[in-house]
Symmetry: C2
Subunit: 232 residues, 2 copies
DNA sequence: TCAAAAGTGTTCTAGATACACCCATGT
DNA sequence: ACATGGGTGTATCTAGAACACTTTTGA
């Protein structure tokens, strides 16, 4: 039995609280954002972030987890609150503030079927279509937050498949920083951090020679975590 | 004539939206947080952050500016949204989410009279009393956010008076990082950034020899701003 | 055999760190 | 005269940046 809490504060405030998720996905070469065709009015049929209202019996994290689960079927998605957008007229049909999260997922966990079911589509970061409301601003701020976080925490590994190659890792860094990176320096850096384990297996699709797979060494990483490592 | 916006969304959500401010102030040697004795129920008389509800016709920034202005009489206070707290039971008398800001002000702008008027008091960061609700958590997260921001942006100057000495600046760095810092290295760093101008005037209260005053060179700083400077 | 991407080491430079003595002044 | 905090310079170390050739293999 769910009982609605009655506020003891006297207040005629009427603001609704929503969560919006900037879902980043990396396809091995480019960084993408998942957008959906909005299924209800207003702005039905336009491209939009994935979102929903916060329930009376859940906090914003729980709402984001629920929304991400409904869309993907996945649990334990890496996500982080990065900002709250509250302009009075940001939503054209009511006063709604949006608690914004970015989420990092591995594109390969996302089937074509799933995309069709939700009328969803991956868009490269430099090719975001016109979005409803202030969602473009939310995407841009999400990207900035991701970039800052990325500098000190190894969250990028959430965007990669379990096994990944160093050229893929380099593409990821370059996509997030929008700047070229030297192969040799990246390898040296990863070597000195000691958080990658080389597998005796090669990825052969994207080159003739093939690139060795690596896995992320969680145990070694945890030891570093206390000391605010620089990852780039 | 203010007309309330009627939402077109069907939704029985009943959440109120508040803003809370972690106001940091530096007294020349320690970093403090401004707390007030809560003036209304529930939890009346307990220590609390400064806050208030977001009005129907203002966004969260505007609410924070209003709240800070009401308390201090000051405008153009440096402030930044750092997180939104939304646990279902965080406020014991209703569902209220709190959009949290940290604000940086110069303690010397704050008269004793002002403190008395609002039943407010500065508390050193390591001596925060028991606070209502989740305000302790908000303070801790605010401190972390301040620290991260401080690394790359010269926001610390908002905590200092217009004229300040290098020993004071050092105290500020040490207070924010809770770690000792070498005098000579700090001076070298500031010298190389070139954003301080030495005045021909000394502060004589805190030592016999006296320490030269400096001012922050806004023009030189702006030139640096594009390039993500490291400030520590 | 050649095109295309993977892999590999060294040098240079700038910034961070560590460190100890003299200076100015009020009491 | 001395105690107190302010001011200064150098040597070392480390991390980041720049840079070019060899290897593998499928077509």
């Amino acid at each position: 039995m769910i009982q609605r809490k009655i506020s003891r504060y006297k207040n005629d405030q009427r603001i609704q609280v929503a969560v919006d998720c900037v879902i980043f996905g990396f396809d091995g070469s480019r960084l993408n954002v998942l957008l959906i065709k909005r299924s209800f009015e207003p702005e039905k049929g336009k491209w939009s972030l994935v979102g929903g209202f916060v329930g009376n019996e859940e906090n914003a994290d729980e709402a984001a987890i629920r929304i991400l689960h409904d869309l993907t079927g996945m649990d334990h998605i890496y996500m982080e609150l990065f900002y709250t957008f509250s302009d009075v007229d940001r939503d054209t049909s009511g006063r709604v503030i949006s608690i914004a999260y970015f989420a990092l997922i591995n594109v390969s966990n996302f089937s074509e079927q799933l995309l069709r079911d939700h009328e969803a589509k991956w868009f490269p970061l430099d090719k975001i279509p016109t979005l409803i409301f202030d969602h473009r601003r939310i995407v841009l701020k999400g990207k900035e937050s991701l970039r800052r976080k990325f500098e000190h925490y190894p969250i990028g590994f959430n965007l990669l498949p379990k096994k990944f190659t160093l050229p893929q890792l380099q593409n990821l860094y370059e996509a997030i920083y929008e700047a070229p990176l030297d192969r040799r320096n990246l390898r040296k850096k990863m070597g000195s951090l000691g958080i990658l384990t080389k597998l005796n297996e090669k990825e052969k699709k994207s080159s003739r020679k093939g690139a060795f797979y690596y896995v992320f060494d969680t145990v070694k990483y945890r030891k570093l975590q206390s000391s605010r490592v620089k990852f780039i």
